[in-house]
């Protein structure tokens, strides 16, 4: 594992690609702004979303049980998975029972979180991701770099090369329509031959016992309708109480994600298809620990729109893979640091605390406060580099002694301007790698102020 600064440094080194990535995501952010500003009650909607989610999380056991009862009554089988392993085992058992050789999957960050694909592949089951972006990264054997735009790190030509290698398209042809048609033809074949479909879940409605999946490509509908077996995997935080609550979230989701008024498909699954089976797997995988933690609980309110990534100036310039976590960006950093601080302790520091993420979040998650809190918790738990801890201790020592600080400042102002540049700009001066130091003034403000006050007193005395 590399730290975020190490990965970011590599990403930034390719200036052209970095700026291309930044501009692509800024374009999405601006589309989002336009859509959000087009609705007068936007901020009220965000309040509603936050209230509904917070309420639901506070009564999660109640709503989960209500959901299970209502889903079961509709002929859907509900399974409970404590962690990723249990989730994968349940999926495998269901597939094995139906002798499934090929599974078509629509987008599901949860199955990425559980590493379902390699688990099934090791057991002889072919898994086809059917979301176009996910299919592209799957063919390249890469993880998604964004939760809504999984292949946003790739250019048209990257996709052309990948499709040439795996789907036999013309070499060098990067016409988007041509490439999309090729993917469509290949995926159509997979939809028709797969024996099972797995979808994610955007919202699970406790009142009705059904689940809602939002896509732009209709691939979830194909996967859930053609094969006889439909498995829907959901994190247990996906619950909302009532059908009418859904309208708040569908209005927020697509606008926040891509600036669309609504996703092309908002599909409701409320029972198995004729002659088929439908299973819903509700997964904990450390969500209960979030729920028990007052400081980080709000992270469960996330509806996975990706807006915090699109707006994050660090994400835009370092790419999703620099986070080395299934969910990147601000929300990913808080989840990762909470779940595995030993692995992801550099992520809460990959942030200037600018607060833009909190402002775009449709569920009003206090992302920048969470990242600030993580920093304190990581320091407390001993995850900060010793050099940083020490320099902070030294600074605090000096700041607690005004006279010592004055002396240090005085000496610096006297000495630094006289030093040769080569001595100031050495390898330990990280600031000075790309930046000049400010010019050191002759006197501090305090010196000027003290002298001014003295002069005033002298004048008064005369």
């Amino acid at each position: 594992m590399a730290s975020h600064p190490e990965n970011a440094t590599k990403y930034v080194a390719n200036d052209e690609r970095m700026h291309w990535h930044d501009k692509a995501l800024w374009f999405v952010r601006e589309k989002r702004d336009k859509a959000a500003h087009g609705i007068p009650e936007w901020e009220q909607l965000r309040d509603y979303a936050s209230t509904i989610k917070t309420h639901t999380m506070n009564k999660l056991d109640f709503y989960l049980e209500e959901f299970e009862r209502n889903a079961t009554a509709k002929g859907i089988t509900v399974h409970w998975a404590k962690d990723a392993v249990e989730h994968n085992e349940i999926v495998h058992k269901l597939l094995k029972a139906k002798k499934v050789k090929k599974l078509v999957k629509s987008k599901s960050m949860l199955t990425e979180e559980c590493h379902l694909n390699p688990y099934l592949e090791q057991r002889g089951i072919e898994v086809i991701d059917t979301d176009l972006g996910e299919r592209i990264v799957q063919l390249r054997n890469e993880p998604p770099s964004h939760i809504v735009l999984p292949a946003i790190h790739l250019t048209k030509m990257d996709v052309s090369d990948t499709f040439h290698e795996h789907l036999g398209t013309e070499k060098g042809n990067d016409d988007p329509t041509y490439l999309t048609r090729a993917a469509r033809a290949s995926l159509r074949e997979d939809f028709l031959t797969a024996e099972a479909g797995l979808t994610g879940v955007n919202f699970a409605i406790a009142e009705t016992g059904g689940v809602v999946v939002c896509t732009n490509e209709g691939n979830a509908d194909m996967g859930a309708s053609l094969p006889k077996l439909h498995i829907a995997s959901m994190g247990m935080e996906k619950i909302i109480p009532r059908l009418k609550d859904l309208s708040v979230f569908t209005r927020l989701l697509a606008r926040s994600a891509t600036g669309q008024a609504i996703t092309s498909y908002t599909s409701h699954f409320h029972q198995p298809i004729e002659g088929g089976e439908m299973h819903i797997i509700i997964v904990d995988n450390k969500r209960a620990e979030f729920l028990a933690n007052e400081k980080y609980r709000q992270a469960l309110n996330c509806i996975r729109c990706g807006a915090c990534m699109n707006t994050c100036p660090i994400y835009r310039r370092s790419g999703g893979h620099s986070y080395e976590h299934v969910i990147p960006g601000p929300i990913g950093s808080t989840i990762a640091a909470f779940k595995e601080p030993e692995k992801h302790n550099s992520l809460p520091f990959a942030c200037t605390l600018c607060g833009s993420c909190t402002n775009v979040c449709p569920a009003k998650i206090d992302l920048d406060s969470q990242l600030y809190n993580h920093r304190q918790d990581l320091a407390e738990a001993g995850y900060l580099p010793k050099s940083k801890m020490l320099s902070m201790k030294v600074m605090t020592y000096v700041f607690n002694r005004p006279k010592l600080l004055d002396f240090a400042g005085f000496m610096a102002r006297k000495i630094v301007p006289k030093l040769p540049k080569s001595l100031i700009y050495n390898k330990f001066n990280v600031w000075g790698k790309t930046r000049d130091l400010p010019e050191f003034p002759e006197h501090s403000f305090k010196e000027l102020y003290t002298k001014m006050k003295k002069d005033e007193r002298d004048k008064d005395d005369k």
């Binding site: 970011a8 930034v12 707006t311 320091a379 990280v430 600031w431 000049d436 400010p438 102020y449």
Partner: protein
């Protein structure tokens, strides 16, 4: 009416001109302004690095230094945010002194805008005939509410613009990205120096592409980072703290 002047530690050492401009803006309004000379640092660099435990003694000293003033004014949005938003863990909820400090501390432009009010400000004796780009530093902009963040669907407002636009002959230039972070971020600028530099350059280029002559803002730390890049790369762009313009730099 007594004002306690809070000058961020690094500004005291490195930016006496901008600090003095802040002082004079207030004394020109006939306020009794005092600079408590045993003030040091609000603790923000340590807190943002995860070492907020170390900050306790600094927070207590700060409150003791400033509790006696009617208003506390500082030329830095982010240091004011530190005191307002992040000191709570160091005090009891009903701590009278901290609650007084918290509710009477202002960034200088915010003070001019909210307490003095634009209609009472008189800049008729100065002139600033330049194309000026405003860098909205994040903490002042989003946490302190100096302006309306572009993310929110709220009526447009910018206290800094409202005050700056009163200066005769100033030309405020619209930037492409109105409130994008400059990448300073405290210790972020050295721990993530590659991204920090990239963000800073992008911010500067936004100003250059809009033919800005002078970049200004309410946070000298961001401006120090940006000016460091400008100076190293020989870019033609002047950087001034907003207090310097309001006091009549060039006059």
């Amino acid at each position: 009416m007594k004002i306690g002047l809070f000058i961020p530690c690094f500004m005291n050492e490195l930016y006496p001109e901008a600090s003095m401009a802040t002082y004079k803006l207030l004394t020109n309004l006939n306020f009794d302004v005092e600079y408590p000379t045993n003030q040091t640092c609000c603790g923000q660099p340590m807190a943002n690095s995860g070492c907020s435990k170390d900050v306790t003694s600094l927070a207590i000293t700060f409150v003791n230094n400033f509790k006696k003033y009617d208003y506390i004014v500082a030329p830095s949005g982010s240091c004011v945010t530190m005191v307002k938003e992040h000191y709570a863990p160091f005090f009891e909820e009903d701590d009278k002194d901290y609650n007084k400090v918290k509710t009477s501390i202002y960034e200088i432009t915010e003070f001019l805008h909210d307490i003095i009010k634009p209609e009472n400000l008189d800049f008729s004796n100065i002139s600033f005939p330049h194309r000026v780009g405003l860098h909205n530093s994040c903490h002042g902009h989003r946490a302190l509410g100096l302006g309306s963040p572009t993310e929110l669907n709220v009526p447009y407002n910018s206290k800094l613009e409202n005050v700056l636009s009163l200066v005769p002959n100033i030309e405020l230039v619209e930037l492409n990205r109105r409130d994008e972070c400059c990448g300073f971020g405290g210790t972020f600028c050295v721990t993530e120096d590659a991204i920090s530099t990239a963000m800073g350059r992008d911010r500067i280029n936004d100003h250059i592409n809009s033919n800005v002559e002078v970049m200004t803002g309410a946070d000298m730390s961001c401006l120090m980072h940006l000016n460091g890049l400008i100076s190293r790369e020989g870019t033609k762009l002047q950087v001034l703290h907003i207090a310097q313009i309001l006091l009549g730099k060039d006059n």
